[in-house]
Symmetry: C2
Subunit: 321 residues, 2 copies
């Protein structure tokens, strides 16, 4: 989608050049497919869409569903931004990018279910390319998905990670443990000494394989999100809940806010580089509480989350022993 501003970098389909048009097709269809499936799973509410343009070039379409039967708030965004020159904040860390035109495309989603027994989740697939006349294109893929339960079930964590492993398997046996480990490391709140949830996959700067293979991996991650999440949501949606569970969910959502505003690179970079605030912050939960000094009742299900789920674990080895 090229909505405004300067011309997007040329996307010739030669072995030396990334096929950006194919990435664009994949990502726009992924957003459509995911929104359709989430509406079907919700059964009550529909996404509404905001198209937006970026002053420097490009834009996006942000889709939000609120007040559903399953989702209190679901945000699925697609963005495609480009420009003749990278913002200084982006090239400061990577001087080789200075003076290049760039294009950054991605789908990013965060789902906040209403029922505290249904986990919150986040997924993202993105592609970046920087070009200069007479030089090879610099490009990479990034993305992943992670799961944040409130009342966790071991079988859900195992299903989640089995699906993550299945997404990685065609690309080598070392891929799942590597990106699973990166996810544990990335979604960590040092001031709480907690992971954000049970993890999943996280990768960035992926360009070590040929473009076609990297792109195939991105598609595999994107395609495995729904089969990873929907069975868990469907299994837990019927569990009755009350004020206790709701309060705990709202309290734990505070950690989600803390992570996204204190540590998440996408959020910080997006806001610092003049991204569309409402689209970047669509990840924030609809309702959140902070309770000073709150501690779970020992032996209760809330204590189990802290004791057994908010640290890196080898879910699959444990399940398959």
């Amino acid at each position: 989608m090229a909505t405004s501003g300067s011309t997007p970098p040329d996307a010739r389909t030669t072995p030396d050049n990334p096929d950006v048009a194919a990435v664009e097709r994949y990502l726009t269809h992924l957003q459509d497919r995911i929104c359709t499936a989430l509406e079907a799973a919700d059964g009550a509410a529909r996404f509404r869409q905001d198209r937006w343009n970026r002053e420097g070039g490009g834009g996006g379409r942000t889709r939000i569903l609120t007040g559903g039967a399953l989702f209190e708030k679901a945000g699925v965004g697609y963005s495609d931004v480009y420009g003749d020159e990278l913002p200084e904040s982006a090239s400061a860390q990577r001087p080789e990018l200075a003076g290049r035109s760039f294009r950054a495309l991605g789908v990013s989603l965060v789902l906040h279910p209403e029922n505290p027994y249904v986990p919150t989740t986040h997924a993202n697939v993105r592609f970046f390319v920087a070009e200069r006349q007479g030089a090879e294109a610099i490009w990479w893929f990034g993305g992943g998905f992670d799961l944040t339960p409130y009342y966790p079930r071991l079988e859900d964590a195992v299903h989640w990670h089995r699906t993550a492993r299945a997404a990685c398997e065609p690309f080598g046996a070392e891929v799942y443990p590597r990106f699973k480990g990166w996810c544990d490391e990335y979604f960590f709140l040092p001031h709480r000494g907690e992971t954000r949830g049970v993890g999943g996959l996280f990768f960035d700067d992926l360009n070590e394989w040929p473009f076609e293979r990297c792109f195939a991996f991105q598609q595999s991650v994107g395609d495995h999100f729904l089969p990873a999440y929907l069975p868990i949501a469907e299994r837990r949606l019927g569990t009755p809940w009350g004020e206790r569970e709701r309060n705990f969910q709202l309290y734990r959502r505070g950690r989600y806010v803390e992570f996204n505003l204190l540590y998440d690179r996408g959020t910080k970079f997006g806001l610092a580089s003049g991204g569309r605030s409402e689209s970047i912050l669509m990840s924030l939960p609809p309702l959140v509480r902070w309770d000073y000094g709150w501690e779970p009742v020992p032996g209760g299900p809330e204590a189990e989350l802290y004791a057994d789920y908010l640290r890196p674990r080898d879910w699959l080895a444990e399940a398959e022993d």
Copy 2:
């Protein structure tokens, strides 16, 4: 208060050395006075106190009042931390501090009233000193107070700033405009293009006057907080409110969270340097909402906040014209 760890830097009362013991006395009494006055104003709930120790030296006493008649959540913290050597994160920006023992004392408060017609407020007074045998002490004061209304009244902003000016007046006519301007600049959310509220005073690194004068200024700021805030709270507490006002308050509290986690130096530095998370994050509101793409109804009182109050204004010149 010296609760644990290494010995606090010596506080001799000579013209060359800051009287740290006097600062400590002032700050501990200020916390007491403020808590007593806030309990009286609330009339229903009491503060509970957590004493805590810092591993590297020092500690604090965090006081929280929740579920009151006036305050949904009020946090008033005192901390006094010291050590033989500054954390690297602190001396990286100021190489002259490297290898010095340090002591940092402060009172910090955030009040979240339940009634959306009563503004949220924050105040802070702090002192820092770094010493080394045979060298002059390096010290400075910082602090200020700022007001964040939801349904603002011009007369409240004027009273707030008159009191702020009164706190500054004995120290020179240029002091109020300077620290008022710094406050507007500091409490600004660039990604929203909004100030956090109607401002007040903000100062940091204050050591340009002799110690006694700087300390007197800190006391004047600390002493003017209650007369600045309580008359406003008392005037607005009786205003009836309903779901509309409550929703707007919860929504606007999201901006408070965004500021504190994205930009506030004290929060970021505190968490990065291993401070006590619950004490640092006691500033966060008890209940918060985020609504994607929310806009105030044109012409309504919520629109007035955006149009007239979330930008730097010379409240006193306008009032006295």
